[in-house]
């Protein structure tokens, strides 16, 4: 019964408009965000640019973040992500005065002196043509303002925490985000080390699969809930709930076939989408003499993306069964927003408790290796949470079949209006 019902559920999904909207959305996201295959270039000795890395050096972190703070303060425009969304903060006069005091404590300089040095810094900028169009770039003159030597790194963190609060929170100056400002150029050796790890550790294709997982994780952190809610509400809308409740099939069979058919129908277009970058990465690996991992994308989809899909789908099924309405969408949207934006500017290697781990780059194997254990725990926790929600969904469904929960899906047990008797 399970297999036949599973196939029938898949067929039902194939007939649903919401499924085609889902497929169109992920295809559109894939095309617009990942787009063309980004070919890896081997670093050359004497090259201009070997990319960037985040520095652990406390002096560098202090120097870079102070510079960023002074530049933002000069524009009176601070970039923040208080609840995940970008928000520009403009300080009022009182807060500007407070910020001036903080800058004075940090640098020992008056505002007049800071402004003079800023002018020299701006004068050193020239307008040049880049691949993105004309941009102002620095031509040798650095901003000559430092943190006072008498201020320790720990003291600096406390002061920056106050800066973050003064701005309203969610800024780059929060002690946990501060490191992300300290981007420094990589050396040739560092760039080569990264390049070699892509060849040896990732066998090229895994590096691309990680980037694919990063992008697709964003969209798969929210879209599956719509399919799940649509499936959950279909019985109610089609007035089939009572008919199905009265049949012999167990609640486990009914709910699990619906759930796993939804999961399969999400995975199918995802796997199809991964064929192109997978083949491109394998071809590219071959062209540089590396035997790529043919199953890298499948492994990353199953290991990295599947827990995200399971969780978003479980939330949809659980809340739809519990409430008889689309509450699951709101819950999942909230979870997704927090997960996507909690990473702030750290788009390479952010895991934490986010439903959508970030790794928005090809390569950086050392960072991947450093977050691997955290990532595995994260994925396992979401998988287990999905299973728990699924079991609860079956339990609620079986209660509704027995009439212990109101048949129309209200939370109040055994309550029914007189008019429906």
């Amino acid at each position: 019964m399970f297999k036949t019902l599973f196939l029938k559920e898949c067929k039902q999904i194939l007939k649903s408009i919401s499924y085609y909207i889902f497929v169109a959305s992920i295809v559109l996201f894939f095309v617009t965000q990942i787009g063309e295959f980004d070919v890896l270039v081997k670093p050359q000795v004497g090259g201009d640019n070997y990319g960037f890395k985040y520095s652990d050096d406390e002096d560098v972190i202090m120097k870079q973040s102070l510079k960023e703070l002074i530049l933002e303060f000069d524009r009176n425009s601070f970039s923040t992500y208080p609840v995940g969304f970008y928000k520009e903060v403009i300080l009022n006069e009182t807060k500007q005065e407070e910020m001036e005091d903080i800058l004075n404590i940090l640098t020992g300089l008056s505002m007049d002196e800071i402004n003079k040095r800023l002018s020299r810094y701006y004068d050193g900028q020239i307008n040049v043509m880049t691949e993105y169009g004309y941009m102002m770039v620095q031509d040798g003159v650095e901003l000559d303002i430092q943190v006072l030597e008498s201020i320790s790194y720990d003291e600096y963190l406390v002061i920056m925490d106050n800066v973050d609060k003064l701005i309203g929170g969610g800024s780059s100056y929060h002690p946990k985000s501060l490191k992300n400002i300290a981007r420094v150029p990589r050396s040739y050796e560092e760039a080569m080390e990264d390049y070699n790890s892509i060849l040896k550790e990732d066998r090229v294709s895994a590096a691309y699969a990680r980037q694919f997982s990063d992008y697709m994780g964003i969209v798969l952190g929210v879209l599956p809930v719509f399919l799940a809610v649509t499936r959950g509400l279909r019985d109610k809308r089609a007035l089939t709930a009572e008919t199905i409740y009265s049949k012999k099939a167990s609640s486990w069979t009914i709910v699990l076939t619906r759930y796993f058919s939804t999961i399969l129908m999400i995975l199918v277009p995802l796997l199809i989408l991964s064929i192109s970058p997978s083949l491109q990465s394998l071809y590219f690996a071959d062209s540089i003499g590396v035997k790529g991992d043919a199953l890298a994308f499948v492994k990353y989809i199953m290991g990295w993306l599947l827990p995200t899909i399971l969780f978003a789908t479980s939330i949809g099924f659980f809340f739809t069964e519990l409430t008889g309405g689309p509450l699951g969408i709101l819950v999942q949207m909230a979870w997704w927003i927090v997960s996507v934006f909690i990473a702030g500017g750290n788009l390479v290697g952010y895991v934490g408790w986010s439903l959508v781990p970030r790794f928005n780059t090809v390569g950086k194997y050392s960072i991947y290796a450093s977050i691997y254990d955290e990532l595995v725990i994260n994925r396992m926790v979401y998988s287990i949470a999905s299973i728990v929600l699924l079991v609860l969904t079956v339990y609620i469904y079986s209660l509704k079949r027995k009439g212990v929960l109101n048949i129309s899906g209200k939370l109040l047990p055994n309550f029914k209006s007189k008019s429906k008797i």
């Binding site: 019964m1 039902q12 009572e242 008919t243 009265s246 049949k247 099939a249 009439g403 008797i421």
Partner: protein
């Protein structure tokens, strides 16, 4: 083997509302009609029998099986809910096949029985018609077909004729009568004509209680000597309505033929021109409800 449904002292509450009050019934093979006005508790009783609602107290046995054994009861029960439908994008055959899988039928059994049942409910030419394109009558017939797909011993049909046109209603009643030849069919309805045409045994519910159980003949006997008919002018109609409960009337020009219930204490003809007549089921049902109302008011 016990081939009855037995209900003993069954009670059902929705919060404080007492929806089923001490229901005692024995239902045997054939058509059984459950009659009552809207809100009488019929649907609640149907859902309890279909294992979709638990009773708060009492015992129910279906073919000797306690109703608490839901899986077994569901295997031997077919249920057509009041507002039956299926997924709109399914064809008639697909809907039947889907329900067949949920009912535990294997592929060969489904292939064999679905065309037979669709023919039985006169949907053989609509196998590829989408559910969303079906008329109300077609959907009810599909509902019956899905309910008997697994050849249940008991068929529970809740208000199946509501909203159907007269022709569809007659066709539907006949269909139910055919099906009831070798099983128990419980027909819940507020339309007296449905019961009159098809059921020998009936129960009448009001406010959660069974106020009558027995045969149609017994119901008719109860109303014997209490039903009168008269041909009156339209002017007299309002007065008659105030004094008696009208069970039916038929306009004929300036005159109206009325059937009405005489007061219980009446020993003579209510008024000149009134003639005592044999009650039909509708008269008897109205008499019973009228009698209960009078008793409740006292």
């Amino acid at each position: 083997m016990d081939t009855k449904i037995i209900l003993k002292d069954v009670n059902k509450y929705y919060g404080k509302y007492h929806a089923l009050k001490e229901i005692n019934l024995t239902i045997e093979k054939g058509m059984f009609g459950l009659l009552g006005r809207n809100g009488a508790g019929k649907t609640t009783l149907m859902k309890v029998l279909a294992t979709l609602l638990p009773a708060n107290s009492g015992e129910i046995y279906v073919y000797g099986m306690p109703i608490t054994q839901r899986d077994k009861i569901r295997s031997m029960t077919g249920y057509l809910p009041q507002d039956f439908s299926m997924y709109g994008n399914m064809t008639t055959y697909e809907a039947m096949d889907y329900i067949g899988v949920l009912s535990g039928l294997n592929r060969s059994k489904r292939k064999e029985i679905i065309p037979e049942l669709l023919e039985k409910v006169n949907l053989q030419n609509n196998q590829r018609t989408k559910v969303k394109a079906m008329s109300g009558g077609m959907r009810r017939r599909l509902g019956i077909a899905q309910a008997i797909l697994h050849d249940p011993k008991v068929l529970i049909v809740d208000e199946p004729t509501a909203g159907l046109d007269p022709e569809e209603r007659v066709r539907f009643r006949n269909l139910l009568s055919d099906i009831a030849e070798d099983r128990i069919v419980i027909l819940s309805t507020h339309i007296v004509g449905d019961v009159e045409a098809t059921c020998e045994n009936i129960a009448i519910m009001d406010m959660g209680s069974i106020i009558f159980k027995g045969t149609v003949s017994e119901l008719l006997y109860m109303a014997k000597d209490h039903i009168y008919s008269a041909e009156i002018s339209r002017i007299e109609l309002e007065d008659i309505k105030k004094q008696y409960m009208i069970t039916s009337m038929l306009s004929q020009g300036n005159h109206v033929n009325v059937r009405f219930i005489a007061n219980d204490d009446a020993i003579e003809i209510p008024f000149i021109g009134a003639i005592k007549c044999e009650p039909n089921v509708e008269d008897a049902y109205m008499y019973l409800m009228h009698k209960k109302e009078v008793k409740d008011n006292v």
